[in-house]
Structure formats: structure tokens, C-alpha cells
């Protein structure tokens, strides 16, 4: 077994276990810590797929910003007399069955489809992915419109979250 295969299986096991812990932990702080582990596992998946820039952004944005923001919100909204009751609602068996059916269906689909049974093509040596990505994001012939829309969305979210969370 090669090293890449070993790292892949280790990453899959750690990430799936952490994701299950996120949705089953009664204590929300524990769930947020498991979320960081799961997101870090996804960053390792991006490294294995040779998308290094996306892996760095995953660690910076998801673990550095979003997970910390979630932990802060958990601390801010903690009710002192709150007891950790059952964290799930009445429909949880239906939800579990639906998720299991979705996963089994997708897995069977991917496993039998001949188009997905391919290996990765070799990356050409002169491919400079990061500079190409940066050029495409601001090029008028490529993706400048989605890029600008994303920045407008971020600005709207920034203003909107300040307005919504403002203490009246």
C-alpha cells in the first residue's frame, strides 16, 4: 500500500468519524471542536488532490474564521440554566433513514458509473495553478462577474450581520 493511499484512508476515517461526532454531540462546544477536525480532514483531501491554494484557504477561512465564529456564538448564546437534553427532534429516525438512503444511492451510483472509475491525469509541469487561478478570477473573459458578485455578497453579509446583531 502506497503512502498516498494510506493517507487517503486515514483522512477518510478521521473526517467521517469527526463529522458523525459533529451531528451527534450533545455538547455544542464539543461539536464545534469536532467540526474543526472534519474541516481539517477536508483540507488534507484538497492537498491530496493537489489543490494547495484551496487547502490553505480551507484552513484559513473555515478553521480560522468560521469555526472560531461558531465557538464565539455558542459561548454568547449559552443559557445558564440550559440542560443538555436530547439534541434531536422527533423526526430523527426519518432523517437518519433519508440520509442513509441518499448515501447508499449515491455510493452505488458512483461505484457502478464507468465515467467515475478513472485515475487522475498527470499535471503538466508548467501548470502554475495559483497564478492561473488569480488571473482567471479578475479576467473579463473568464470569471470576473462571479468574483465581483461574491464580493458584493460578502459586503452585504458584513453590513447585514452588523445590523441584525446590533443591540437596540
Amino acid at each position: 500500500m502506497s503512502l498516498g493511499l494510506f493517507i487517503f484512508f486515514l483522512m477518510v476515517v478521521v473526517t467521517v468519524v469527526a463529522a458523525v461526532a459533529v451531528v451527534t454531540s450533545q455538547n455544542l462546544v464539543n461539536a464545534a471542536m469536532w467540526l474543526m477536525v472534519a474541516l481539517f480532514g477536508a483540507a488534507i483531501a484538497f492537498v491530496l488532490l493537489q489543490a494547495t491554494y484551496i487547502a490553505v484557504i480551507q484552513v484559513l477561512v473555515y478553521i480560522g474564521a468560521i469555526a472560531v465564529l461558531i465557538v464565539y456564538t455558542i459561548m454568547l448564546t449559552r443559557n445558564p440554566d440550559e440542560k443538555y437534553g436530547p439534541g434531536v427532534n422527533k423526526q430523527w429516525p426519518i432523517a437518519a433513514a433519508l440520509s442513509l438512503v441518499l448515501f447508499l444511492g449515491l455510493a452505488y451510483f458512483y461505484y457502478t458509473l464507468p465515467q467515475t472509475d478513472v485515475l487522475a491525469p498527470a499535471l503538466s509541469g508548467d501548470l502554475n495553478a495559483i497564478s492561473q487561478l488569480g488571473a482567471l478570477l479578475v479576467s473579463p473573459n473568464a470569471y470576473v462577474l462571479p468574483f465581483e458578485l461574491a464580493s458584493i455578497l460578502l459586503l452585504a453579509a458584513l453590513i447585514g450581520s452588523i445590523v441584525v446583531a446590533w443591540r437596540k
Partner: protein, 102 residues
Amino acid sequence: MIPLSWYLIFAAALFSIGLYGVLARKNIIAILMSIELMLTAININFIAFWRYSLPGQMAGQVFAVIVFAVSASEVAVGLALVISLFRRVKLIAADEINLLKW
């Protein structure tokens, strides 16, 4: 070497776990965390398809960057709503907030 389907099955597992969390959890912050898991699974799909089909074109990575921006906006507004809700009604269980339900 790892075939494409293994990455897709891994992403499907993450997505299904996140879907269970969204449908079954009571706490709104737990639901937001499950949505983050689902968006991460989508990003893994984008990057896997980029790597296995057209690694010379960066469309998959561009989409992944846009998904990052959208998920950051979503979680910022969602958590601001949670804080505002907690200030008003002192609870953040999704099934007990039924003021607009009829």
C-alpha cells in the same frame, strides 16, 4: 492510485451526515455546523472533478472559491440571526421558535 469514485463516495458520506444534522438537530448553531459540513462536501466534489477531468482549466477551483465566499456570508448572517434571536427570546431551539407558524 485513487480513482475518482472514492473521493465522490467520501464527499457523499460527508454530505449525508450533514443532511442528517440539518434535518434532525434542534439547536440552530448545530444546524449551521451541519450546513458547513455539506458545503465542504460540495467543495471536495468540485476539486475532485477539477483534478480528474480538466486540471489544465481552473473552473473547479474558481467554483470552490465562490463556494467559500458564499458559505462565509451564510454563516456570518446566520450567527448574527442566532445572537439576535437569543437576545429576544432566550432560546435557540429550532422547533420551539414558532411565532410565525400557523
